[in-house]
Amino acid sequence: MTTTSAPVRSRRFSKKEEDDSGVHPRRWFTPYLLIAPGALWLLVFFIIPLFSLGRLSLENGGLSNFSTVISDNSTVIVRTFVYATIATVAAIIIGYPLAYVIATKGGRFKNLLLALVVLPFFVTYLVRTLSWKILLYDGGPVVSILHSVGILSDNQGILGSPFAVVAALTYNFLPFMVLPIYVSIEKMDRRLLEAAADLYSSPARAFRRVTLPLSLPGLFAGTLLTFIPAAGDFVNSELLGSERTVMIGNIIEKNFGKEFFRPELSALSFMLMAIILIGVIVYARILGTEELA
């Protein structure tokens, strides 16, 4: 106490001592210096390209580019949104219980189980998705079993169907759902559940009123990390889908390579961004997470 207050007091009386004391007012620009590299990176590699893309999307017709793009691709836009939503919901349904069980019942196997969740990521995205093709092709193991059980009729396959695409989207982004949920449940104080039980809550009510609300930030993060890449994805539809399953990403990817810098494609990219942004905002509102909304 005395050691810190002494220089402060002396500063008030003597200007000279202030300089000697080594106490300097915090320089106002220090924080800006610290964020400068990151800001520069964002400017060069994100803001500028985004800006030029935006300008491009308005060329040769201005805002009408957007209405053209929407009316031409309405089915694809809706489909993209629906696929990404289903994949996200499926990832929650599979991922939440998984994360919950690992966090609460994992014991000393926690890290091993988590490693298993992340393990597929040691294989490239492309190869991972291609291997599903081997798994799901018409003469392959999954289809044969489904045929013999009678779930699929003899002339039905999985490859090329919306199911294959959505299932693969779910699979590919599942770890992004599991990890943040796991972290939020894992860091929760276990005694809170004892407190809830002590205060007459059944395990189900304790989950609803304590565990679930405290894991919402993780659920929120997991949802964004799943929904955003799923909505922008083209690999799964490209490799496992068909013309029935075309997503926005496929259209952008197909055409961007060939006919460079077409305004309509820029407009479509902006559409995709807008869909995701609106989805995120609506979701944040519904969830009411203080940290993010």
Partner: protein
């Protein structure tokens, strides 16, 4: 709903009534039944019936057997790791006894889950719900029990007033000081008017000054609501000042149960004598026995002391215990009615309210005496020979304990 009925009594500042309508307050518990310690209280709320708890091979609680009465402030006191928390957790329902039974109001609840037991816990680190404000934390219990909106809207503010947090209802736990969080935890438990409130070192995380203030607060609140408190602490001073009765525990065993005065004046074992306050503990051997008095030889003299243990028969080894403040110093023989031995002054330390005097008896056994500095004494110097004397009732003869070293125990009082 009985809880509701109790709340109304609660509002008027009355104590909940027992089945016969006679209110047993803490003062009648501790003062009108002197010497009845350890015996079962007349209206037991909690009965711990030969309860043992093992974790694998390790026995954390060993055959605990006692009951806690209606409205009582009951403490479990003992060093860290002696099984206090485990006992409390068994009462709350978080652990199940390996053997034995726990009864609440006469009903065996040993296998009843915590949410179906009418007791509430104030956790060591409070365990407040971080995502709820103070009001919702306190309302958590009543909402679980499906209390009506009116009831909750009346009771929660009432409790917040009792713990003096009326203005903090909208705050989150993270926005409160440690002492305030502690009081939220208390209100959250008390709002349910449980049969007993279980407190696990509730003041342990507070600084000294706040701890003293909260000891006073807790007593006030307990008096106000009249609910049985089961209080776990390792702080002997806290237990002595707050409790109606204390159970002293050591290594999973209950060593002694009694009022603070009984525990302090007539410890049942060397452990209890040494753990609570300061004590001179001298090796002794029993030469005769008549009722609650034993004749012994100790410090090279023939002495007498009070003796509770049946096992101390003539010829057995024992320990003589005298509190340092019960010893008086004189230059002459103290007379035939008091006990006394001669000793040589070794050291004198002024400690504010007392002077601490160390003597050596004839056989070099140290004798510690705390004496009043105003006491009319000639100047003492190391090397002087004096008489150390005490009343026979101040001397306790205890069973010798193989694992308890016999040095004059000096429990440093953290207060």
């Amino acid at each position: 709903m009985p809880v509701h009925r109790l709340v109304e009594g609660f509002t008027r500042g009355e104590k909940p009534e027992g089945p016969e309508g006679n209110v047993v307050t803490q003062s009648t518990m501790s003062q009108s039944t002197p010497g009845a310690s350890g015996l079962d209280p007349q209206q037991p709320v909690i009965e711990i019936d030969h309860v043992t708890k093992s974790f694998g091979e390790f026995v954390a609680v060993d055959d605990a057997h006692f009951s806690i009465g209606q409205g009582e402030f009951f403490s479990m006191l003992g060093p860290s790791g002696c099984g206090k928390t485990t006992t409390l957790r068994m009462i709350a329902g978080f652990e199940q006894p390996t053997s034995g039974a726990i009864r609440l109001d006469g009903v065996d609840v040993s296998r009843v889950p915590p949410n179906k037991r009418d007791v509430n816990t104030v956790f060591q680190q409070y365990a407040l719900f971080p995502h709820m404000n103070v009001y919702d934390n306190v309302a958590f219990g009543p909402r679980s029990r499906k209390a009506t909106k009116d009831e909750i809207a009346r009771r929660v503010p009432e409790l917040l007033d009792i713990v003096r947090l009326g203005d903090f209802a909208a705050r989150r736990p993270a926005q409160l000081s440690g002492g305030q969080q502690q009081r939220v935890a208390l209100a959250r438990a008390l709002v349910n008017l449980p049969k007993a409130l279980l407190l696990d070192e509730p003041l342990g995380a507070l600084d000294l000054k706040l701890r003293h203030a909260m000891q006073f607060e807790l007593k006030r609140i307990q008096r106000e609501v009249g609910i049985t408190f089961v209080y776990v602490t390792h702080d002997q001073e806290e237990a002595l000042t707050m409790s109606d009765r204390i159970a002293v525990m050591s290594e999973g065993k209950v060593e002694q149960i009694g009022t603070p005065t009984e525990i302090y004046d007539s410890p049942a074992s060397v452990f209890v004598a040494g753990f609570i306050g300061q004590a001179n503990l001298w090796p002794a051997s029993v030469t005769g026995r008549s009722g609650a008095t034993a004749d012994i030889t100790a410090l090279g003299a023939s002495l007498k002391g009070r003796c509770q243990s049946e096992n101390l028969r003539p010829g057995t080894d024992a320990v003589l215990m005298v509190r340092p403040e019960r010893i008086t110093i004189s230059t002459n023989h103290p007379g035939p009615t008091t006990q006394g031995v001669r000793g040589t002054v070794v050291d004198l330390t002024f400690q504010g309210p007392i002077v601490r005097l160390v003597l050596h008896a004839g056989d070099d056994t140290p004798i510690i005496a705390n004496i009043d500095p105003d006491h009319d004494l000639p100047m003492l110097r190391p090397g002087d020979t004096v008489w150390a004397a005490w009343d026979a009732t101040a001397a306790s003869v205890l069973p010798a304990s193989p694992d308890q070293p016999l040095t004059a125990t000096d429990v440093v009082d953290e207060g």
